[in-house]
């Protein structure tokens, strides 16, 4: 175990991974309850276009992906509102167009290379210091904003009209939540790869929701599942040479299964 902690790249991976995974889990709870669980999946595909654009224009792919994902997230929101589309239709449109544009850009840029695969499949153990700092900083901001607006987010998720009648600016908070989601998806992409980032948003939160009988429990349990999955996922990746991203996701799924079985036995709380 000591060897595990003594490597700089492991420390970086742990720090960034845990921060980002907790941000994913927190947002995941709200997204699932808002029936918006697929947005992570959709935005990840759009983020691919951002990465491709970054590689194409030779700017930092993470930053390009952040900008593209935030714009797309707002676009999905508007399309849902204005075109009267169901949420998943707007997401399906954006995610396929995003992925298609990404494919075109990547081909033009001749950048089907190792870099790109890192974004597709995650490269948490190869994460650079600047990216670690960026990830921790942004994930920290996301967590902080969620905590500061926790009660309002909870109220509007549970009972939107009543929240409005309490004077809560739900439209603004929608936008805030959407932007936070987009940022977090891109950070998660760096950790587990864009093919698996949706899992990081949905599975720990879904696990927490199995056993929670209060909102606080849901939030705490989900964060806990995220933390445990990243920690043991990296540990196994380090010792057994497993792919970190896949291991993290499978672990979180196993915990989900465990909680699910537990719930069926008897509600814990």
């Amino acid at each position: 175990m000591e060897a595990f902690f003594s490597y700089g790249f492991v420390q970086r991976a742990l720090l960034a991974g845990i921060f980002v995974a907790i941000a994913c889990a927190l947002l995941g709870v709200f997204l699932i309850l808002r029936r918006d669980a697929m947005i992570g999946h959709g935005l990840a595909h759009v983020a691919f276009a951002g990465v491709a654009l970054g590689l194409f224009l030779n700017v930092i792919p993470l930053v390009a992906a952040l900008i593209v994902a935030v714009l797309a997230a707002l676009g999905i929101m508007k399309l849902k509102e204005k075109a009267g589309l169901y949420g998943d239709t707007a997401i399906a449109i954006f995610s396929s167009v995003g992925f298609a544009s990404g494919l075109l850009l990547v081909t033009f840029a001749h950048s089907f290379n190792v870099d790109l695969f890192g974004y597709l499949f995650g490269e948490i153990l190869a994460i650079e210091t600047t990216e670690v700092l960026l990830s921790i900083g942004l994930a920290g901001v996301v967590v902080l904003i969620v905590i500061l607006n926790y009660h309002k987010f909870m109220y509007m998720t549970f009972d939107r009209d009543s929240a409005k009648v309490s004077g809560i600016r739900v439209d603004r908070l929608d936008v805030l939540l959407t932007i936070l989601t987009a940022i977090t998806v891109v950070l998660g992409m760096k950790i587990v790869g864009l093919l698996l980032v949706a899992a990081l948003m949905v599975i720990p939160a879904a696990a927490g929701l199995q056993l929670a009988s209060s909102f606080k429990q849901a939030i705490l349990l989900s964060s806990f599942v995220a933390l445990i999955s990243v920690f043991f996922g990296l540990l196994m990746a380090f010792y057994f040479d497993f792919p970190a991203s896949g291991t993290i996701v499978i672990l979180s799924f196993l915990i989900f299964g465990l909680f699910f079985a537990f719930k069926r036995e008897k509600r814990l709380f």
Binding site: H151, M154, F158, S162, A163, K164, S166, I168, S213, F215
Partner: protein
């Protein structure tokens, strides 16, 4: 409850409201007012626009004609939301898996108040405890709301609405799906809130029986306002006779 010196102060003025969802007109030139201390029943058949009217009063929907004034301000400029309590129609049909405890739901009621006069944690807990006791659900406070019965859930929503000690309470068909005995308790409780605490109540219902026993004002709606006045006069009005003559016809037929 702080009642103004002038008991018949107008709290809500609805002026010549018309509204449509798309092409279908739902409300036509509706005007009514609610005075301080009123217990107003808004009655009318299904689809007559009752819920729509309440949503317009609360600023959730915008009318294409007319305006709403709450406590002397246009609803668009109204700020003192902590003075209003609202129990939406679907409150009893909440997602039963939603992970939120009874205590947390009641605490939501204090959210808007925080912006103005911040309560301390102690004061908050005390108000929540009081509200829970007032509706008799303090034993359930740590239960997930979805695990309670419909009647118990309804009490939770009442507690959430009264925890901030509102001046006006809006209830949209609060007893749908609640058994008769619980209903009776529920309306006794509303009576107490109205008479003892001086809370003005706007109650949407299509149960005429309730109207007779508890309220002092009636607004009878069917896209247009058919009747608006005191309960005593309502009993002698044409609208009432039509309603009685039609039996449940008017109540349940139209869409």
């Amino acid at each position: 409850m702080a009642l103004s010196a002038n008991d018949s102060k107008t709290l809500i003025a609805v002026k010549d409201i018309s509204f449509s969802y798309g092409y279908a007109k739902v409300l036509k030139n509706v005007s009514l007012d609610v005075k301080s201390g009123d217990f107003l029943a808004v009655i009318g058949p299904n689809g007559s626009g009752k819920t729509t009217l309440i949503k317009i009063i609360l600023g959730l929907l915008k009318p294409y004609e007319g305006e709403v004034w709450i406590m002397g301000r246009r609803v668009e400029e109204f700020l003192e939301w902590q003075k209003l309590g609202y129990i939406p129609q679907k409150a009893t049909h909440i997602d039963s898996f939603f992970p939120v405890s009874v205590y947390e739901v009641v605490a939501m009621g204090l959210l808007s108040k925080k912006k103005f006069t911040r309560l301390t944690k102690k004061e908050e807990e005390l108000s929540i405890q009081n509200a829970l006791e007032q509706v008799g659900i303090e034993d359930f406070k740590n239960r997930r709301i979805g695990s309670l019965s419909g009647g118990q859930q309804q009490r939770v929503f009442i507690a959430r609405a009264i925890v901030k000690q509102p001046h006006i309470l809006f209830l949209d068909e609060p007893t749908t799906g609640v058994d008769a005995e619980t209903q009776e308790h529920f309306y006794d409780m509303l009576d107490a809130l109205n008479k003892k605490e001086g809370i003005t109540i706007v109650l949407i219902t299509h149960e005429i029986g309730i109207v007779n026993r508890h309220v002092n004002k009636v607004a009878c709606l069917n896209q247009r306002l058919i009747y608006h006045g005191t309960h005593a006069e309502f009993c002698h009005s044409k609208a009432f006779k039509e309603m009685i003559a039609g039996g449940h016809h008017l109540i349940s037929h139209r869409h």
